[in-house]
Symmetry: C2
Subunit: 342 residues, 2 copies
């Protein structure tokens, strides 16, 4: 009896990992979706092996922290920015983490930490989090967008994460073209949503403006000259009323409005939830977004569109990754070939 109770207790947790273009975060998450402990490292400069080592350290620490509370992580849910091969546990193509391309990150992690690892796109786990305990709770059909280093996306149809046709990607809303022939995107195309609506797009958009103007005067020019041009400093300029900085956020809203209008027209749906760090600038782009969404989606009637801000913030992807790992560990095979729970 006591042993059965122990086992039950030991199955209540999962580790959720969010590996984005800038940071790597890992959390111990309860089955109810509560974050119990978090670890963070910078990811931007790390090679594939170094990322793996960071993950190993975090997982071991979180497992120890769980054990101290009588919890044992039954699975790791690993959200990665890019196209992934869930079966192989590897990263196929990651515009924002190019050093991981082709690397079997999930499989190697599972071999070392001896916990089943389930990989998923980082924006998809964001969506699972927002669906579970966030802004999209109760929405059967909706679009999720994550404004981070790049621009992630996910789709929920009939209450389920839409995974596409098994091509290793789906919900790549950041790589929908909103301005053909527009600014280059790390994915190789031009004029993608990501080239307007991401942390990196703010900086490259500011540089493009300075380059076209041929001068480094004005607040953005001064920041660039001082080597301090960043999403945060551009946001501060905009809050101070700088027209050039405000225009960058306006263009971000414009691009988001067009991408969402296109998705709503094509899918016959009307709801979206937007998350990611750049949502800190929500008030600077939501007006332009809503205006352009209404202007470009002629099919939507008076019921109109509904665009909400993420309720879970940074925690959405961690909670969603853990939820994903938990669900998959109940269902079947993990990337290291061991059956979950064995």
């Amino acid at each position: 009896m006591q042993r059965r109770t122990m086992q039950k207790l030991k199955k209540l947790a999962c580790i959720g990992i969010d590996l984005g273009g800038t940071n790597l975060r890992a959390a111990l998450v309860s089955r109810a979706g509560k974050i119990l402990d978090v670890r963070l490292s910078p990811a931007a400069e790390l090679g594939a092996e170094a990322v793996l080592m960071e993950l190993v350290v975090h997982c071991r620490e979180l497992a120890r922290c769980g054990a101290a509370r009588g919890l044992e992580p039954v699975a790791v849910g690993l959200g990665v920015a890019g196209k992934i091969d869930a079966e192989e546990g590897s990263v196929v193509f990651s515009p924002n983490l190019p050093r991981l391309d082709g690397y079997p990150l999930g499989r190697r992690l599972a071999e070392i930490v001896q916990i089943p690892v389930y990989m998923e796109n980082d924006a998809n786990v964001f969506g699972l989090g927002e669906s579970f305990t966030g802004a999209a709770r109760g929405f059967p059909n909706w679009v999720g967008i994550v404004l981070g280093t790049g621009t992630g996306g996910c789709l929920f149809l009939n209450g389920k994460l839409w995974e596409g046709e098994g091509l290793g990607f789906s919900g790549e809303i950041g790589h929908m073209i909103v301005e053909p022939g527009g600014p280059a995107c790390p994915c190789g195309s031009k004029g993608c949503l990501e080239a307007f609506a991401s942390a990196r797009a703010l900086v490259s958009g500011a540089r493009r403006r300075l380059c076209v103007a041929g001068t480094r005067t004005g607040p953005l020019g001064e920041l660039e000259a001082a080597g301090r041009l960043s999403p945060e400093s551009i946001y501060a300029c905009a809050k101070n009323g700088d027209a050039a900085a405000l225009e960058l956020f306006d263009k971000m809203g414009w691009a988001l409005g067009i991408a969402l209008a296109n998705l709503f027209s094509a899918l016959g749906i009307r709801r979206a939830v937007i998350g990611g760090g750049v949502c800190g600038a929500w008030d600077l782009f939501i007006g332009s977004l809503e205006r352009n969404l209404a202007r470009n989606c002629s099919m939507l009637g008076p019921e109109g569109a509904l665009v909400l801000r993420s309720r879970l913030g940074d925690e959405a992807a961690l909670i969603g990754a853990a939820r994903f790992g938990m669900k998959r560990s109940r269902a079947g095979e993990s990337v290291n070939g061991t059956r979950a729970g064995e």
Copy 2:
């Protein structure tokens, strides 16, 4: 025993109707999807009541023709270009049949002919036809596009027609924006796919070119001066090597390539079937379509995209509408409130 056999025979047929921006067609279709008889009228100049009267005449004639073969139509499947209210049996908003806006076409037809009528978007019934016996047979996930007077679209996900969230539209691919601020579309937006890839777009595109050039010289100018500018005459010009006409088809392929790239990126799928009258010019736009699709869909790997031409041509929507009517009549309530089969 004989009576039971008679009843069985009498349930083998359905009437499929395709009401587009230019023509209205109705067919008696066997349960296996074979067209047994067809009727056609022009629809472009008709008011709502006149359209209804044409439909009544066609349905009665087809029912008589069925009776002569021992068949009784158990339902009418009515495909209409535009946003429809299937419950009410009415047209909500039809950019290409504006005289029908708000008119209870399906309900009125059912009341008069006393056969249950099931309404659906015309591009959706095209998709049901191509799925049933056409180019999309066996495809679980695909995009359908109909290049007619306007540009219709449909989505099939997990082997089923995707109907959206019950907002009265879905698969409105023709109203995805491919060039923000581009040419005006009848829907009220600017730069929609339909403004580049439809019979009407060919004519308005040619006029725009002539207007910009400020002259009526060249083959397109001569056609316009003679009042003979039409999709067919523009096609003939292009086949004769006229650069301006060729460019219109090239732009059509460009727009289709971008719209499909965006859908494939967002949905994680890779197949499309294109139908409608403008497909007669397939060889003039498919090259540009495939080039621009590959260029703008960075996520698709070596497996690549697959874009096929409709196999059923004009018959797809008729077969699909009949199939839709047949399926719905088995399932439940029709727009005239009588239970199917009563």
